[in-house]
Structure formats: structure tokens, C-alpha cells
């Protein structure tokens, strides 16, 4: 299966702390994307990183990609209660013609 694996499955931190989520995959990719899903809603695209990129930033989000280890991490700095959600990585694999989603990390930010 090409499905990515996310780690941890659940994460609970205090407001203001940083949150780090990891994603690993098995076969070569064109790009890797991170999405957020609030309870009962659809997924929202956060950031896309291409296979020839190593790091990208968007506001309080920082994404890294290590193609040699086939892994990525999403860092959310200075977390807020509104960041409480599930976060999914999705990989666009070479020749696969589909976006493969991991099972997600459930992040809870405690006030």
C-alpha cells in the first residue's frame, strides 16, 4: 500500500506550545501535501511541498521533507485552541495518478 503513516495518532498539548506531526511514505513522490479537518467538516489544504524542496513555511506552519528517509513533518508553532483538528498528510506518487491520504493525527489544544 502507498498509504502514508502518520505519527502520532493523537497529540494533546497546551495552548502556546508547538505541535509536531510526522508522516512517512513508501514510494517516490511528486509532492506531499498537508490538510486539516475540523470535526464534521471537509478537509482544508494547508501546504504543498514538492519532492525537490526541503522546507516550506506558511504563517505558523513549517513543513519539512526528507526524500531520502521518505518522511515529512508538520510543525505548528504557538498553538491556539482553533488549531484543534485532525491533520492529514497526502502524497502524490510518481505514476499513481491519485492522492493517497494517511490516517491522520488528531491534535487537541488545551486552553
Amino acid at each position: 500500500s502507498q498509504q502514508g503513516e502518520e505519527d502520532p495518532q493523537a497529540l494533546s498539548i497546551q495552548e502556546g506550545e508547538n505541535a509536531t506531526m510526522n508522516c512517512s511514505y513508501k514510494t517516490s513522490i511528486n509532492n506531499l501535501q498537508w490538510y486539516r479537518q475540523n470535526s464534521g467538516r471537509g478537509l482544508v489544504h494547508l501546504i504543498l511541498i514538492r519532492s525537490n524542496e526541503r522546507e516550506k513555511h506558511s504563517g505558523r506552519l513549517r513543513v519539512t521533507l526528507d526524500t531520502s528517509k521518505k518522511s515529512s513533518s508538520l510543525l505548528i508553532t504557538a498553538s491556539r485552541a482553533a488549531d484543534t483538528a485532525s491533520y492529514f498528510c497526502a502524497t502524490d506518487h510518481l505514476g499513481a495518478q491519485k492522492l493517497v491520504f494517511g490516517q491522520g493525527t488528531r491534535l487537541t489544544i488545551n486552553p
Binding site: H45, Q97, L99, F101
Partner: protein
Amino acid sequence: DAGITQSPRHKVTETGTPVTLRCHQTENHRYMYWYRQDPGHGLRLIHYSYGVKDTDKGEVSDGYSVSRSKTEDFLLTLESATSSQTSVYFCAISESGVGYEKLFFGSGTQLSVL
């Protein structure tokens, strides 16, 4: 969600009945997708479309068919619903217009097959 409307939002049906879910977009995007989301499986691609009357299967297409007669509408049909098709169904479009990049999702349809 701006740009995508899924209908119905909730549906309860009986095993063996046909069910059609509708996805309507106002953005004129070429690529449209149907995913299902289940606990323990994440999101899995059912079918996708890359233009009017151009569709293809995803990884879990058995028991599902799709049609796209207009750019704005992408229909997902369960010909004879089974309990294993109880799920949340999401429609998505590619905002970037480039295949599998930057998907924008609808709010989902909760389908229960009894």
C-alpha cells in the same frame, strides 16, 4: 464551503436500494474527485473525473459508478447499497487545476445503509 455543494448532507437508506450523491461546483474546475472516509482507513479515492464524460476508477471503485455530463456536476451512484458503503463521502476539486494538487473539499455526505 464556497464553490462546492454536496447533496444530500445526510441520507439513511436500506440495503439493496440505489443511491445517488451529487457534487456541484461553481468554479469550472476540470478535475473532480469522490472520496470516502472511514475510521481506520483515512480517505480513499473512489472515482475521479478529468473532464466532461472523462472518468476513471480509484482504489475502492467496486459497487460505485459516476457520471459527469456537465463540468459543474459530478454524480456518484451506488447501484445497490450495502452496509459496507456506510461512510462519509467527500467530493473534491483541484484548485490548482493540475491533477492532484491542492484539493478543495465539500462538506461531505453522511450515508448510512441499514
